[in-house]
Every structure is written in structure tokens, then in C-alpha cells.
Symmetry: C2
Subunit: 298 residues, 2 copies
């Protein structure tokens, strides 16, 4: 398979669905919808929705993979990811002006509107999730709500951002760095894989294997993010390069240097592939995604 | 029945459950949990959880009303209400220093931590909701997720706050005021009643009647809020009195004067009672709650 073609196709599917689920609005809430759409449709890579869909494909009958019922859930993941970026960029948080090559939400819409755009996207994600595939068993859909809300809540993604803020500019241990990564980035990426698995009817062992894949992928993703922040230009990244070092944020390269960090990223990918070694060729997209994540340039 | 005793008992039930669901935490997230608990356990009246429980009682077998399975859902409503207060009070929003007689969240914990406490509470609400009463049918629990996420999302509560911010200090029509009220306050109050109804197994007509009750109660609640802001002292309210007029926020009294406003509040309560006229004595708490809401002093 050609991963670039796969990514292109799946991204188009997700982008079209996002457009359908949150279209331009008239009336008094037009500006609010515009603020949400501004960040949601700002050219993200759609890694999380695609991981969700690929996990489902690894379990569904080949050829007949009906991904349509999973699209609301896949889009919910992107809404949550986007909300987290909008809030992280706020003046009171990381105070970033640039994201995906465009001015950040609060720069364009103002701080209050940006906070509310984030709040709106988070709630909207659960709307989408609750509406996901009425053809799927209610128990599976409820399980998706449960695992996703846990992954992004106070002891998941939000907790990771809390630790990141609290430790900024301080000497931290590698254990703390690992905890921040695993909560702030890893939890949602793992949950993206799990959401696809659960909605595709994964059994207990399949779910456990795919969750293991998700954890390793999440780790690889964050390590590569750290590397890119060191090695890329602002133009390549679409956000301020070198900003981690400037803020004295702890990163993998700061702990281990670039070479060892790159090695660890590859180890994580190997771990991800190992976790799903028992899956057949329907898991090929997941395998290619793992390799893509470690080799990506932005 | 004595509504004061009822409120006292239900509030104690909700407070104990909140304490159980979000206990003091050790470890790296201790401060984050403390920030969430600070606002969550700040002596709220628990109107929304109590409306949820009372709606369930109106449908469940008398005497045997097993409210225990509904407590996570009831607490989820309070988490969502609290998150909305924490975010509304932020410097970029209403910039309030005082809430429920205490310094607001961002005054105590800082702006970033307050944004994240709100984000955490919103996500945590959906965790609670997804965990609600595993003895209840999955379809009913999913419906609760669906109606609550809609009520609090971009076209519900968050949308109401957007309109409120956008129109602050401007001349607005009564229609706009009514829309702001109905989204910002009404939607969550209505959803509180609906959540209790759905989880107690309401049929279509029962749900529709209870939703009608909820809409009228929500209206009454907001009208009375406007009145209290005009008539009370800061000490009585636990937040800045007269702040609406100071900010030139549109309110019912500003449109109609105090007497006519009071009359409209009573009409809304009458409408609420009318909506549930067909219910038996198990709906007595709902009836008393309607009367309480219009006569409350804070």
C-alpha cells in the first residue's frame, strides 16, 4: 500500500465530514461557528481521526469496511484535539501567535471568543460521539464516550497540560517528562485507536493489543514532535520552531541529545508494530501509519 | 412536603457524592484537583442535580425510588454548571473576583489553572455520565449524553455565553435577551430535568411534559437571577450585586421594571406547573421546586 495515497484519501474523507457536521452558520452564532471552524479546518494532518478509522479497518471485514458510521467519532477526536490547541495557545497558557502557519484563534477572534470556541468544540465532540453510528450497539458507543472522556479529562490530556504548565522553566526529571507526554499527547492518541476498535466491535484481546499499539504510537509521536521543534524552521512547522528550548521546556533531545532521541522514537515504533503483530493484512494501514509518524517532517 | 427539608436532604446526598467522585488527590495532579474542588464544593445550591433527581422521582415507583444509580449523572450536571461559572468569571470574560462569597477560581489558582480546571470539569462530567448506573439501559445512558452535550455545546450554553459577551454594553432587543437566557441558563436546566427523566425510563410523552416544565423553570430561574442582581446586596448574593447594570447588561428589570418582571417570573412558574399537571403526587418535589425557584433570595 502507498501510505501517502491512504493518508490523502482518509484526510479528504475526514475533512468532508467535518465540513458536513459543522457547516457555516447564519444568524447570531455565525461568528462563534466561524471561530470553531477557523481552527478545526486549518489544515490539520487528521492523525487522530485516521488512527481511529485505521483501527476499525483492522477489525472490519476486508473490502466491505463501512467507515461511514464511524465518521462522527473520528471527527469528535479532531474536535477535541483542536480545542486543546486553541486553549493551549491562549495568552494565559503558552501564548502562541502562530499555529499551522496561521495566526492563532485568540489573535483573530479575541481571547474570550477563543476560550468559548474551545469550550464549544469539546462539547460538540461529545455530541458527535453520542450521535455516532446509530447502527452500532449502544453499549459500544457508550464505551467510546467513557474511554474518550477519561483520556481527555483531568487525569488525562487536561492533566498533562496542567503538569506542562506547572513545570515550565523548571528542572524536571525524565519520569515527569514521560508522564507529561503520556497524558498530554499519548492519552488522546491511544484513545483514538481504542475508539475505532471499540466501535468496530473489538474483543477484549484485540482491544488490549490495539491500546498497546496506541500507547507506543503516542510516545513516538511526541518524541518526534520534540525532535521537529529542535530541527525544523518555523516555516516548515507552521508554528514557532525552537520555542521549546526558548521556554526551557524539557524535551527528549534536551535529555538525550538528537541521536539517542531518534533511536528511542524508532524503538517506540517497533513496539507499536510488535503489539499488533498478530493482526492480518487489514492492519497494514496501522503499520504504515506507525512508520509514517516517525518519519514525518511536520 | 417541606421543600426546605427536601432541599437539605438532596443537597447532602449530592455533596456527599461529589466528594466521593472527586476526592482530594495526592501526587502531581493534587493542585489541579484542588482547583476543581475549590469551585465545585464552594457551597452551590445544587439546583441542577436536584432537578435531575426530582424528575426521576416523578417517574420511579414511590418509596422505592432508587436514586443511587442516578447520582453520577446528577453530579455531572453540577460539574458542567461549575465549569461554566469558572470560565465565565475569567479576566477575558466577565472578569469577576467574587463568586459564592469566595474569590473566584482564577484569583486563587491563576488564569491558566482556572481555564484548565474548567476544561477538566467539563470532561469529567462526561466521564461521570458514561459511568452512570450500569444497571440502567445503555440506550438511555447514551441518550443522556446526547441531550446534555447538545444543551451545553456551541448551540446551547456555550452559544449563550458567546451572545452574552458579544452583546455586552449594547442596546439589544428583548428577543435577543430571551435567546441569551434560553441558551445560557435555560438549556442546562432543561437538560437537567430531561436527564433525570430519561434515566428513569420516561416515555415519549412524559419526557415532553418534563422538558416543558424544564424550559419554564429555566426561564423563571433566569428572570429571578436578574431581579436578585438588582435588589440584593453583594453579601446576600455572594457575588457582586448590581454588576449587571454596571456593565449595562440587558436584563428583564431593565426592559420591564421590577413589578412586571416579578409577574413574568410567576407566570413562568405557573407554566411549569401546568406542564406537569398530569403527573401524580410523585411530582410534588418538582412542583415545590418551581415555587422555591421564584421565591429564593440568592
Amino acid at each position: 500500500m502507498d501510505i501517502k495515497v491512504y493518508l490523502h484519501q482518509k484526510r479528504a474523507l475526514v475533512d468532508a465530514a467535518l465540513e458536513r457536521f459543522l457547516p457555516v452558520a447564519d444568524g447570531p452564532l455565525a461568528r462563534h461557528v466561524e471561530a470553531m471552524r477557523y481552527s478545526l479546518l486549518a489544515g490539520g494532518k487528521r492523525v487522530r481521526p485516521i488512527l481511529c478509522l485505521a483501527a476499525a479497518e483492522a477489525l472490519l471485514p476486508e473490502g466491505a469496511a463501512q467507515l461511514e458510521p464511524l465518521l462522527p467519532a473520528a471527527c469528535a477526536l479532531e474536535c477535541i484535539h483542536t480545542y486543546s490547541l486553541v486553549h493551549d495557545d491562549l495568552p494565559a497558557m503558552d501564548n502562541d501567535d502562530l499555529r499551522r502557519g496561521k495566526p492563532t484563534n485568540h489573535v483573530v477572534f479575541g481571547e474570550a471568543a477563543a476560550i468559548l470556541a474551545g469550550d464549544g468544540l469539546l462539547s460538540f465532540a461529545f455530541e458527535l460521539l453520542a450521535d455516532t453510528g446509530s447502527s452500532l450497539p449502544a453499549e459500544a458507543r457508550l464505551q467510546a464516550v467513557r474511554l474518550l472522556s477519561r483520556a481527555v479529562g483531568p487525569f488525562g490530556m487536561v492533566g498533562g497540560q496542567v503538569l506542562d504548565m506547572e513545570n515550565e522553566g523548571q528542572e524536571i526529571s525524565f519520569d515527569t517528562l514521560r508522564r507529561i507526554h503520556s497524558l498530554k499527547t499519548g492519552a488522546l492518541i491511544t484513545a483514538s485507536v481504542e475508539t475505532g476498535a471499540v466501535l468496530a466491535g473489538a474483543g477484549r484481546e484485540e482491544l488490549s493489543a490495539l491500546a498497546g499499539y496506541g500507547r507506543q504510537i503516542g510516545l513516538a509521536f511526541q518524541i518526534v514532535d520534540d525532535l521537529l521543534n529542535v530541527e525544523s524552521t518555523t516555516e516548515q512547522l507552521g508554528k514557532a520552531a525552537g520555542s521549546d528550548a526558548q521556554r526551557r521546556k524539557a524535551t527528549y533531545p534536551a535529555f538525550f541529545g538528537v541521536e539517542e532521541t531518534r533511536k528511542r522514537a524508532h524503538e517506540a515504533v517497533a513496539g507499536a508494530l510488535e503489539a499488533i503483530a498478530g493482526f492480518d493484512q487489514r492492519a497494514e494501514p496501522l503499520r504504515e501509519l506507525a512508520r509514517y509518524i516517525v518519519n514525518r517532517k511536520r
